[in-house]
Amino acid sequence: MSEEYERELGVDTEKLKEVGIELDKSKRSGTFLLEDQETKTFASFFEGVEVMSIRDAMKKYDWVKNYFWKLLDRNQDEYTREADTEDVNGYFIRALPGAKVEIPVEACLYLKKAEKQKVHNIVVAEENSELNIISGCTSHPGVTGMHIGLSEFFVKKDAKLSFTMIHSWEPTIEVRPRTAIHIDEGGSFISNYILLNPVKLVQTYPTAYLEKDARVVFNSVIVALEGSTIDSGSRAVLRGENSSAEIVSRAISKGGKVIARGHIIGDAPEVKGHLECKGLMLSENGLIHAIPELEAKYPNVELSHEAAIGKIAEEEIFYLMSRGLSKDEATSAIVRGFMEIEIKGLPDPLKEAIDRTIEMAEKDLL
């Protein structure tokens, strides 16, 4: 199956596997692959889910344009302005009302030779639907360029959407995602962001807007190797009563620079939010800067945060060595443990994809 695709598409499937893209119908409920500005393939293998390019979606449904730039402001910064062009492409993924799509849809954004890849995605989980997406973003070995990826997510009433994004770029690539999520009453959105390979710069700060009883979880695992600068955060605006947010991040620096941001805004009564940010310094140089922010605008909100940065405890290495591990094996087990975040409600194939990515990146950390 994947060989067939490889011939057809001329892409490096190994590189895609690294970011969780299988190109295997039996493991995915839909697939989408964008190379630079061009849609390479798209298909849905499941009745309740639609997968196509944003260009096709605009043609197919008149209403899609109403979602375009609904949550993001085209004048937010120079990158949003740059992506506001005729040439833009991206994916449109939609779960129909009531559809329960456990098998993930995969979407891959591949930067092959473009100086600037400009992407604008729309994802809609209609009322009462359940949808899981894995998005892998990667670039061709040796290419230099910039990826501007705009994404707008719409989680309708009582819908559940999980979005797992794995990035694997090159040390010559600059990445500027701009993401906004709207979660309607009773809906939930889980985001998992994994970035373990070298990259020149990533700057991202997705913002979720939550209505009554809605819930958002942002998990991220970030590794900054020598030469990488990663400025990554998550923001939740709790504007509906009883909505809740959880932001969990794990940042590792091995010579690179990480700014780990988090911001929860309690803009309604009876809301809850927790921010957890842990950093691990693996080398003498490098930097981790944790910036957790909490904002309450009503008295009866419950917002908290915890942040901790440190190095690997010698005592933990010794403990595992007393169970037979060499120093390197012990270090690797501890780093692995550090990156492990318990992600509830994620389908097994996605857990596997995350585990595999972490396993592959491990060698860079020793």
Partner: protein, 255 residues
């Protein structure tokens, strides 16, 4: 035949000298009980034997199975057959008990089934997928440490307060497990496992019939005798009184 020989051992932690001149000889098949007041250096001794880098050996040496292990890394000592149950093991976030048990089983040469069988026996099945030592109760930590030892199946077993803070039923469970590990159920001639057990209250001695005991005091080992006798002397006269008595006995015997 001797399995462990500690010769003129001096150990420092930071700038402080904790052990001055410790000598210890343990034969294959023997179980030795070590008493001593809080802070006297009992854990320091076991940590030096297993090779914890925080505890620096500044003089003397440690011989295990006729090999000088003084400068060997901890995992090499483990492979040679030294195993330890810690008094206060660290919590490691993200590393599950089952992961560590698998590492231990690698040393002992056991299968996954054996892990489950022994976890069942030590009543730790419900903890397998929890992060190691994170939120474990005192008794659970002790059972987990012992379970790890059982899977490593070492020849020299170092037990740092296996009975502290353990309820009566669990002392029985732990006592039986230690007996089995140390082959106390076999007759003396066919025993091959040796051990050092640190205990304050001596609850474990109700289950484990150890060969002899001593007190660690002022950086040295003294007062070697029957475990029950020594325990009674500490109970009746305190550590200091006990030390004074055995010094007097020693002088009388030599005079």
């Amino acid at each position: 035949m001797g399995i462990l020989r500690v010769v003129n051992l001096g150990v420092e932690v930071g700038e402080r000298k904790i052990l001055k001149n410790v000598n210890l000889y343990i034969k294959s098949g023997e179980t030795f009980v070590l008493f001593g007041p809080n802070g006297s250096g009992k854990s320091t001794l076991l940590n030096a034997i297993i090779g914890n880098p925080t505890y620096r050996v500044v003089s003397g040496r440690i011989m295990f199975k006729k090999i000088d292990v003084t400068n060997l890394p901890t995992n090499e000592r483990t492979k040679l057959g030294i195993g330890i149950a810690f008094q206060n093991p660290p919590k490691i976030s993200g590393v599950k008990l089952i992961d560590v048990l698998r590492f231990c089983a690698r040393i002992g040469g056991y299968t996954e089934e054996k892990i489950l069988e022994l976890a069942e026996k030590m009543n730790m099945v419900n903890h397998l997928y929890r992060e190691i030592n994170v939120g474990f109760s005192g008794g659970e930590v002790k059972r987990s440490e012992l379970l790890q030892l059982m899977l490593m199946n070492p020849d020299l077993i170092l037990l740092d307060e296996p009975d502290s803070g353990v309820d009566l039923e669990n002392v029985a469970l732990i006592g039986e497990a230690i007996n089995e590990l140390l082959e106390r159920d076999k007759n003396a001639e066919s025993r091959e496992k040796s051990g050092i057990i640190i205990t304050h209250q001596g609850h474990i001695l109700d289950y484990v019939d150890a060969d002899y005991a001593a007190i660690l005091y002022n950086g040295r080992i003294a007062c070697i005798g029957e475990p029950e006798d020594i325990l009674n002397q500490i109970r009746n006269h305190g550590y200091e009184g006990c030390m004074a008595r055995c010094l007097r006995n020693m002088n009388e015997n030599s005079g």
